[in-house]
């Protein structure tokens, strides 16, 4: 039992603040645009790994208001390409240590992740992923209906559904996490080390002079900086556009919804590519579920009825016993989708302006490794090998990453 809790229980004074509220200065060494898990992780690692603390993290709303607060909190590394697997595996390892490192329980539940295959083409892709994973040292294997039934007894494994389950990619280290806690944990630790977090501070423009970043214009005034990071997943093109840079992405809403709380019955994360649905049960007992991105580009965060209808239909195909379970709330986040379903990280043609974008439907699970590698880049000027495949210039070099095959539903 935590000493802190006991102390707090018997104390009369107010508990300590998680992050300070300080005035916004007019110059910093580094400005990070976007106070989500990526931006805050980067700030944390800048301070922790590189001793750079003259950093301001700016968010136009409250921290974690973007993708970090809207995702369905799935963490895994069972990707298709070797470079993808390596990257996300590093992230999973950091997640495993995160609660201890940040002294904040992010509730990472490595309960196992199942990606169901409903056709032989799908089985082929799952096997491909399993093999690539194994060769990178990541625990994944193909399993068959008898083992699927043991892991997930409520699944309909009969011949009855239109898309019978033939096999599944089983990834034991995958699971779910308390996504807001990741944001708060990083925010506190970054703040503790001197990083300034400024909420309700919207960036309205970027100052570029002679091909070099000068600073950001915000709703609270101009903030000068020699290094600026664009960590605004969903609005990456908007911010990059302020520096005159076009990115290869299109922004789509990604919807999700949650049911009323139920006693625990689903103990793995279940994903179906053919049925475009993924679902898990949170520690509070709610089913958290989502599907693929909306069919047309939009920046709107309103949900749709079609989404609820389709996802309900697909959930009931997988779990026919859930017809009386009720949806409590729906929402949406924004996903910027690049052509090769892989992020766009690193330097840009504008010197000192770094991007962390193109995060599609796979951004939250990469937060720790993303923060760490980008901090290294910002601090040293050298792009770490792990993220070199995700550079912006890869499009002009015709070196796209091959993740598209894995991402019919990118969860």
């Amino acid at each position: 039992m935590s000493i802190t809790l006991i102390r707090q229980a018997f104390s009369r004074s107010a508990p300590p603040r998680m992050w300070r509220k300080v005035p916004l200065r007019d110059e910093y060494e580094v400005v990070i645009i976007g106070g989500g898990a990526h931006g805050l992780a980067c700030a944390y690692y800048l301070a922790k790994d590189h001793g750079i603390t003259d950093v301001a993290v700016l968010d136009k709303s409250y921290i974690g208001s973007g993708g970090s607060g809207r995702n369905t909190a799935i963490v895994r590394s069972n990707y298709l390409t070797p470079e993808g697997v390596r990257f996300y595996d590093e992230s999973v390892k950091l997640y495993e240590q995160m609660a201890c490192e940040l002294d904040f329980n992010v509730m990472f539940s490595q309960r196992g992740h199942l990606t169901l295959a409903h056709s032989d083409a799908s089985v082929r892709t799952m096997r491909r992923r399993a093999e690539v994973n194994k060769l990178q040292g990541v625990n994944s294997r193909l399993i068959w209906p008898d083992e699927i039934a043991r892991l997930c007894p409520h699944l309909d494994l009969s011949d009855h559904p239109r898309h019978p389950i033939q096999a599944a990619l089983y990834h034991p280290p995958g699971g779910i996490i308390r996504h807001d806690a990741v944001v708060w944990g990083y925010a506190r630790e970054a703040d503790r080390r001197g990083v300034e977090i400024h909420q309700e501070t919207e960036v309205t423009g970027l100052r570029v002079d002679d091909g070099r970043i000068q600073g950001a214009e915000t709703s609270r005034g101009l903030v000068k900086a020699g290094k600026v990071l664009n960590a605004t997943a969903g609005w990456g093109s908007t911010i990059a556009g302020m520096a005159g840079i076009e990115l290869p992405m299109t922004t789509f809403p990604l919807q999700a919804c949650v049911t009323e709380p139920l006693k625990p019955f689903l103990n793995t994360v279940v994903v179906s590519g053919s049925l475009h649905v993924y679902v898990s049960q949170s520690d509070r007992g709610e089913l958290v579920t989502g599907a693929s991105v909306d069919p047309f580009a939009s920046y709107s965060l309103a949900g749709s009825l079609s989404f609820l209808e389709e996802i309900s239909g697909h959930l009931l195909e997988l779990f026919p016993c859930l017809s009386q379970v009720r949806i409590l709330r729906q929402w949406a986040g924004l996903c910027e989708m690049p052509p090769d379903f892989s992020p766009i990280m690193g330097i840009t043609p504008v010197e000192g302006f770094f991007i962390d974008t193109g995060w599609g439907t796979y951004g939250f699970k990469a937060s720790p490794i993303c923060g760490k590698t980008l901090a290294a880049l910002i601090a040293t000027g050298r792009t770490p090998d792990l993220i070199a495949p995700f550079r912006l210039s890869r499009f002009a070099e015709n070196q796209l990453v091959g993740e598209k095959g894995a991402a019919s539903v990118g969860h």
């Binding site: 299109t250 939009s298 910027e336």
Partner: protein, 90 residues
């Protein structure tokens, strides 16, 4: 659900249509473009919050492709129209 005004069929539910992406004309003299310019055509997009011109296909209806001006945040569609007649082959 959004209503789209198909220039041929009139107002229909958005579920009848397929989104075709931002208007992005194919460069006429592709062969003369540099690698960077060609990659720019293939991949880069404005992707801004605001009014954009885009393509829609009436999948469950007349099968025509048409253009629309829509605000990507408010969702308001200000107009829809058919593309110009196909040009001659050259």
């Amino acid at each position: 659900m959004l209503i789209l005004d198909c220039p041929n069929c009139g107002k229909r539910n958005a579920s009848e249509f397929r989104y075709g992406g931002e208007v992005h004309p194919r460069p006429p003299a592709a062969q003369q473009l540099s690698e960077a310019e060609w990659a720019h055509y293939l991949y880069m997009r404005p992707n801004q919050q605001g009014v954009q011109s885009e393509w829609w296909y009436h999948r469950a209806g007349c099968g025509l492709w048409f253009l629309a001006e829509r605000h990507t945040y408010t969702g308001q569609v200000t107009r829809t129209w058919l593309p110009e007649n196909p040009k001659s082959d050259d």
